[in-house]
Amino acid sequence: MRFSFVLSEVLTGLRRNVTMTVAMILTTAISLGLLGGGLLVVRMIDHMRDNFGDEVEVNVYLNKDISGTDKGCTAQPCAGIKSALEQDANVEETRYENQDEAFERFKRVFSGQPELLDLTRKEALPGTFHLKLKNPDRANVIVQTYSNKPGISSVEDQGIFLERFFGVLNGVRNATWVVAAIQAIAALLLISNTIQVSAFTRRTEVGIMRLVGATRWYTQLPFLLEAVVAGLVGAVLAVAGLVGIKGIFVDNVLAEPISAGIIPKIEMLDIFWPVAPILVAVAILISAITGYVTLRLYVRT
């Protein structure tokens, strides 16, 4: 096998039809970029599940009256609620946070947003029991048992919010993948078409190659590699695009929820591993298969 021969054939092939090559590469890049974006959302959800997973809490908010007056939770009904929660079979751990502590935490979380801090009075924040459950699935039992107890203003299952948020993210991911799939179809057609045009322009060469007894490696590998090289360039562009969008767009727009620890930061590392290798593998696989099928269907061997 003379690689220099095959390689020079590939390069002339790609140069011969520059417009088509560019279209093929860009479509592939966009499709792969969207696929990669979806993969990053999946990564993000996984990170969040890891971060919050065991810590998903049920919060029992005390009413304004108790929150303002009984900061030590020594009087009734606060003390009664506390002991009831501590003895509840579903509750693993109870942590009490009074109004002062809640306000301190609030100031920490929203330190980046002074307007919000100015608007919020300490009195607006309730004293809270943060509950960790033995089994997070039993959260609704707790919510039902305690919601109407005297002194309690509301009981909130954080897990529900988290799941709702995950639902939104999953929707975003699915939408990206649908668009990616449509782009992928366009990319496939372009790749297939490029190979056919390429094979047509080179029909004299290929005819001679077949006559003098060149194997399929020589007659077809250049076309196949043409597709694969274009796919690879597309994958590289897609990764570069993801890095660019992350740096310029995502990091800035989501800066606050990220620094507040609500949304995990997308690290460069997330893009390079495992997203980039996945995109490269998908690009190689799809372009090679498309190339192979096209050669089988349309180009005489």
């Binding site: 096998m1 003379r2 021969f5 004299t204 060469e205 005819g207 001679i208 190659m209 077949r210 006559l211 003098v212 007894g213 060149a214 194997t215 020589y218 007659t219 061997t301």
Partner: protein, 229 residues
């Protein structure tokens, strides 16, 4: 070397068989003319030997390959043992003479030091030394056909198939090409040439196989083009 046993070829789009129950033997080192009117099946005959087409019926052996039963993977080996030239030369217009000849070796994976050695040798054999760096459009028709012959012969095939190689050439140039083919034949290479050219066939007095409507109607050891016609 070549053996056809009751070979027929029906093209899908045609009602009449292009070859009809043809049985012929050709030995190593023979020089054979394949003649017959247009449409009689000469090119089809050659295409079957190259396994460009498969016979519809019959058995066919070429250079010890059983054409009717061989797998597609072995086709390149078969074709490497056969050289071909055509009426229209089929040179690559963007490559020089030497590159055209080298191309045939490159694409079958010959190492470059071999190519560097044998290409000038074969160009000298066909009388084109000194024109190695010309482009095909800077050559006469006869010279272009020499390049094609050099390309067909450079890998030292067991046989050379020529489909009307002199069809586009004037009589003098045709004569030169025939001398070249005779020279190649003398190296032990079987030569099978399809032609319409009366004077060439008559002057060479070699074996003549005549086709009409896809059938062999004559096979003379030292024949002429048209006996009594």
């Amino acid at each position: 070397m070549i053996r056809l046993e009751h070979v027929s070829k029906n093209y899908k789009t045609s009602t009449r068989p292009a070859l009809d129950d043809v049985s012929v033997d050709m030995d190593k080192g023979e020089f054979v003319f394949l003649i017959g009117p247009s449409g009689s099946g000469k090119s089809t005959f050659l295409r079957l030997l190259l396994r460009e087409e498969v016979p519809s019926k019959g058995k066919l052996y070429v250079n010890n390959f059983d054409i009717t039963r061989m797998s597609r993977r072995r086709i390149p080996r078969l074709r490497q043992s056969i050289g071909c030239v055509f009426q229209d030369f089929r040179l690559l217009v963007n490559k020089t003479v030497a590159e055209n000849v080298a191309f045939a070796l490159e694409v079958i994976g010959k190492p470059s030091h071999t190519i560097k050695k044998v290409v000038p040798e074969v160009l000298e054999l066909v009388g084109l030394d000194g024109k190695a760096n010309r482009m095909p459009n800077e050559l006469s028709g006869g010279e272009q056909q020499r390049v094609a012959i050099a390309r067909a012969f450079v890998n030292r095939p067991l046989m050379l198939l020529a489909d009307e190689p002199t069809g586009n050439l004037d009589p003098d140039t045709s004569q030169d090409i025939m001398l070249l083919l005779e020279r190649i034949n003398r190296t032990g290479t079987t030569v099978l040439m399809a032609t319409h050219d009366h004077s060439i066939v008559d002057s060479m007095r070699r074996r003549v196989v005549e086709l009409a409507f896809g059938r062999v109607i004559r096979d003379d050891a030292r024949g002429v083009y048209g006996v009594g016609r």
